[in-house]
């Protein structure tokens, strides 16, 4: 039997109707633009401009420093105002290039000219992706050219384009697939060139019939491509869930302390937004400085889907869209959706590459959950929903008993992907995933201390 979903998972209220039918609108910010030098995992990029330099839209203003780093691209034309620490969405102050936007958005030369890419070599494709500063737009910020350069490209069997969009409120990838299906299909073809033994699957949750239809049309007649319709369930768009459904492979997070990556089991997962960015970068030489974005939430007057420029502020986007509902006090702002999103202390921070949404809530579910918290009932709902097959309730017991050995070895606590399904479902409103996150950090710190001590 072919399954269309993974084991476990939850069905949070999607709230997609707020914005799913609204077409993508371009948002062009004004005033100063802020480009943090670290928008990816790995080291911050090194700035290659200085104060007073004129810049153009699409120009690289900071170069990757080290393997897991990525280029930073300016999204507007103007002059560099400063290179200084600026507040970012997590509240942290990060070294950033600040550009005074002249409002003209003059692009660098050669962009927007379609190039015939049929004869392009794999290395050239990878070089263009790297130059475009593309990182995974799903949220983790893993540089794409690294992901596409596994040790053995011939071992890759599955390329999965992630159009699941299981996160509540977000609909921008839905709109992107409806409008840019052919471009996404072309991006996939470019990726298939890199992996001779792979076939490609576009995975879409069944609550997006228009996107499914559009993608089916786009891949029709293409030999190594198909669309797979998945059940609408969170975390369907998680890397491991997708690999489980599409390739039928469940793999551990690590073996002998070495993390196992999707490429190690013959899979590569890319968000459809990333695939689109790859197509733009390779075919049009357009680097990554704009992307699709959903503004939604019950505090927003007019939700919508946008094409935003990196570096513009969240606050300005909200104003552009029509602001908050009258009489509503904003309690919570989330970069992303409610399940995986990061809560922001303020909206006056720049939009970064991997931000695909802003969810504004008039009510704080976590505040309410704290009021309703009771002792653990041991109802076992967390065990039922865990997509990895862990037992969150026993994990929490092990933590409160201080038994990290049992947590790690017997209960496999480090396998947790921090999807938050257990916290979501818990009727006692206990912050399960949050303590697993802390414990993982603690265990990792202990390990580092041990190995570090050995070296010193």
């Amino acid at each position: 039997m072919v399954s269309n979903t993974f084991r476990g998972g939850v069905h949070p209220d999607g709230h997609k109707a707020l914005s799913r039918e609204l077409p993508l609108r371009e948002f062009l910010p004004t005033g100063e633009m802020v480009f943090p030098l670290q928008q990816h995992i790995g080291k911050p990029a090194k700035p290659i401009v200085k104060k007073g330099d004129p810049v153009l839209a699409g120009q690289c203003i900071a170069e990757a420093d080290g393997l897991f780093s990525a280029n930073i691209i300016c999204s507007c034309s103007g002059t560099v105002k400063a290179i200084e620490k600026r507040r970012t969405l997590t509240g942290a102050m990060l070294e950033s290039v600040v550009v005074d936007n002249d409002g003209k958005f003059t692009p660098i030369e050669g962009m927007d000219v379609r190039e015939d890419v049929a004869g392009l070599s794999g290395n050239e494709i990878l070089r263009r992706i790297q130059a475009a500063g593309i990182i995974g737009l799903g949220g983790a910020g893993f540089p794409t050219h690294i992901k596409l350069s596994p040790r053995d490209p011939n071992s890759i069997r599955h390329i999965i384009a992630n159009g699941a969009e299981c996160e509540p409120y977000l609909t921008c990838n839905d709109q992107l697939m409806r409008t840019q299906a052919d471009a996404i299909a072309e991006g996939l073809e470019l990726m298939l060139k890199l992996f001779p033994n792979a076939s490609c699957t576009v995975a879409i949750e069944k609550n997006k019939p228009e996107a499914i239809e559009a993608m089916r049309k786009a891949v029709a007649g293409k030999a190594r491509m198909k669309v797979k319709v998945l059940e609408a369930k969170y975390p369907q768009g998680g890397e491991r869930s997708l690999i489980s459904v599409v390739a039928g492979i469940n793999y551990p997070a690590a073996k002998l302390d070495q993390p196992i990556l999707p490429a190690d089991v013959g899979c590569i997962v890319q968000n459809v937004g990333t695939v689109y960015a790859i197509q733009r970068a390779v075919v049009y030489k357009e680097p990554l400085f704009s992307h699709v974005f959903t503004l939604s939430g019950d505090a927003v007057k007019q939700p919508g889907n946008f094409i935003v420029r990196d570096g513009g502020s969240f606050a300005e986007l909200l104003e552009f869209a029509g602001g908050l509902k009258e009489g509503v006090e904003l309690k919570k702002a989330l970069a992303g959706g409610p399940m995986m999103g990061i809560s922001m202390p303020s909206l006056d921070v720049p939009i970064q590459k991997m931000n695909n949404g802003l969810t504004l809530l008039a009510d704080d579910p976590n505040e309410r959950a704290e009021e309703q918290m009771t002792a653990c009932l041991r109802c076992g709902r967390c065990t039922t929903v865990c997509p990895i097959g862990l037992m969150p309730q026993l994990l929490a017991d092990a933590i409160s008993a201080g038994d990290l050995e049992r947590y790690e070895k017997k209960l496999f606590g480090l396998e947790c992907i921090q999807c938050g399904s257990c916290t979501y479902i818990c009727p006692a409103k206990r912050p399960l995933m949050q303590i697993f996150k802390q414990t993982k950090a603690e265990i990792m710190a202990q390990r580092r201390a041990r190995s570090g001590g050995g070296k010193a």
Partner: protein, 525 residues
């Protein structure tokens, strides 16, 4: 826009279900059984339910206040405990019974062990067992239309026919929550909502039915199994007691292990133990195994279930002694030593014990045949006993066995009477063995028990002169049991009130002895 917004870790969404919602659903599921219980049993049942629920809530309220804990008394869990306790009680109990039960359940079993989710056994069942031990007679007094009689399970244990329909609907004699139909409706409702785990309730019912079928002596007879499943709180236990979150395992495999353990124990207790309340005890024993099950039955994450053992060992190899936890080794050693010591003592004392038993038997014979100096067998008796070959005696005496029979001889060697050692397997709590003595003319001298393990205050009262004295000096062909009391003829024996099973077993045993006397002794002469 300058104020700092709320910050917290993801996820920023929560399911609608809360603790008190789940508790309300459990209450709702128990409602049909409660309503039918009140309709069938009348206002006293309503009183028991109300008092039980109210005192559970008050107990938790007082504990919260006295211990300065956050208020938890309204989360619904205390109400569930109170209601479950009430459903396991007879509608005829005095009002102090549910009060004491609820206080014990909430204060001792729940709050003292850490409150919600921390109780080590099911509070309602623990309270019921506590009440059974403390107020045995009061707790097991069941009446229908003012006449006390045995519960269907007690009848079933003695091999009698029962009315399955009335058991299923809940109109039979028994506890308030006796309507199997209503409990099934509630239980399946909770299962449908995924509030209770099907792994538990269905493995309890399945294991119970299988063990009953294998060892119940009636095979897999649908009617017999249905009657056993419908009686004695099996359905209430399977759907509402065994599924208690705090005292059931977390993993699916653990839940099935636990369910099978409870179901099998419940059936074995009922068959071999004979106590009508056996199911409560089997659930409680199951509860006690939960920490052990949760400690060792931990399924691997999906990713590891598909790995081969070789790959698994490579990733997570541990030496054997490290994998077997120290307490297991220590406990095994202690158990072995204790077992060896016990069997040693048993072997050394076996002969002495047998001698003592023999002397006790002789003393019992002397009591019921005081004129005899010695007891000797006759050829006719030996032949008759050999013919019986240890089988159940006759067909009219239940499961009665003639163990021994002797002629009593005086100093001159004259026969002055006869003694018969009879065992009935129909006791409420195992076998009853008694010596029946008669004079040379066949009139009864009396009876004396050599083995009697009945319920104190109930079945044990057959050993009081008021009951066993009734047999003395009577010379009849066959006795009959009068459950209502106030007998007038020689043939009738007044039952011990509330212990008709035990009384009936004794009367059957005496009748068997009388019959054996007629056929083997008198007829053989």
């Amino acid at each position: 826009m300058n104020t700092v917004l709320n910050l917290s870790s993801s996820p920023h969404a929560r399911d609608k279900w809360t603790t008190s919602f789940i508790m309300r659903m459990v209450l709702l599921a128990l409602l049909p059984a409660t309503v039918i219980g009140i309709i069938v049993n009348g206002l006293n049942a309503l009183l028991v339910v109300a008092v039980s629920v109210a005192s559970a809530v008050v107990a938790e309220y007082l504990f919260d206040k006295l211990c300065h804990k956050p208020d938890t008394y309204l989360d619904g869990s205390a109400m569930v405990t109170g209601l479950m306790l009430a459903l396991t009680l007879s509608p005829d109990v005095p009002v102090y019974i549910p009060i004491i039960g609820s206080l014990f359940a909430i204060l001792v079993v729940k709050c003292c062990f850490g409150g919600l989710g921390k109780n080590f056994v099911n509070p309602a069942l623990a309270a019921r067992c506590f009440l059974l031990i403390s107020f045995g007679t009061t707790m097991t007094r069941f009446q229908v239309d003012g006449i006390s009689s045995a519960t269907p399970i007690a009848l079933l244990n003695t091999g009698k026919a029962v009315n399955i329909t009335s058991m299923f609907l809940g109109t039979a004699n028994g506890v308030i929550g006796g309507s199997v139909l209503a409990l099934l409706v509630g239980g399946l409702f909770l299962w449908g909502l995924e509030i209770i785990h099907g792994e538990i309730c269905f493995s309890v019912l399945g294991a119970f039915a299988v063990v009953m079928g294998l060892f119940g002596g009636q095979g897999f007879d649908a009617k017999y199994l249905a009657a056993q499943l419908c009686g004695g709180g099996v359905v209430l236990g399977a759907f509402f007691m065994a599924t208690d979150y705090a005292t059931s395992p977390v993993s699916k495999l653990g839940q099935m292990t636990y369910g099978i353990l409870i179901g099998a124990l419940g059936a074995l207790f009922r068959l071999k133990g004979g106590a009508a309340d056996s199911f409560s005890y089997s659930v409680i024993i199951g509860n006690l195994f939960v920490p052990l099950i949760d400690m060792y039955v931990v399924p691997k994450p999906y990713a590891y279930r598909l790995l081969s053992k070789r790959k698994w060992d490579a990733a997570y190899k541990q030496p054997f002694l490290k994998r077997v936890p120290r307490p297991v080794i220590v406990l095994t050693v202690i158990t072995l030593i204790a077992g060896l010591a016990l069997s040693g003592v048993f072997t050394m004392t076996k002969d002495t014990i047998d001698e003592q038993k023999e002397m006790a038997a002789r003393a019992a014979y002397k009591v019921v045949c005081p004129e005899a100096d010695t007891f000797a067998s006759t050829a006719a008796i030996d032949q008759a006993l050999a013919d019986l070959n240890g089988q159940v005696y006759g067909s009219d005496f239940g499961r009665a066995y003639i163990d021994e029979a002797y002629a009593g001889l005086d100093a001159a060697g004259q026969t002055v009477g006869y003694v018969f050692k009879v065992t009935s397997a129909d006791g409420f709590d195992g076998n009853i063995t008694l010596a029946v003595g008669m004079n040379a003319e066949g009139a009864l001298n009396g009876i004396s028990f050599t083995q009697l393990n009945e319920t104190p205050g109930m079945g044990m009262r057959v050993d009081e002169p008021a009951f066993k004295g009734q047999f003395e000096g009577r010379s009849v062909a066959k006795f009959t049991l009068n459950k209502a009391g106030g007998s007038t003829t020689d043939e009738e024996i007044d039952s011990v009130s509330g212990a008709s099973t035990t009384s009936g077993a004794v009367v059957n045993a005496v009748n068997a002895a009388l019959d054996f006397y007629r056929s083997a002794v008198k007829g053989g002469m």
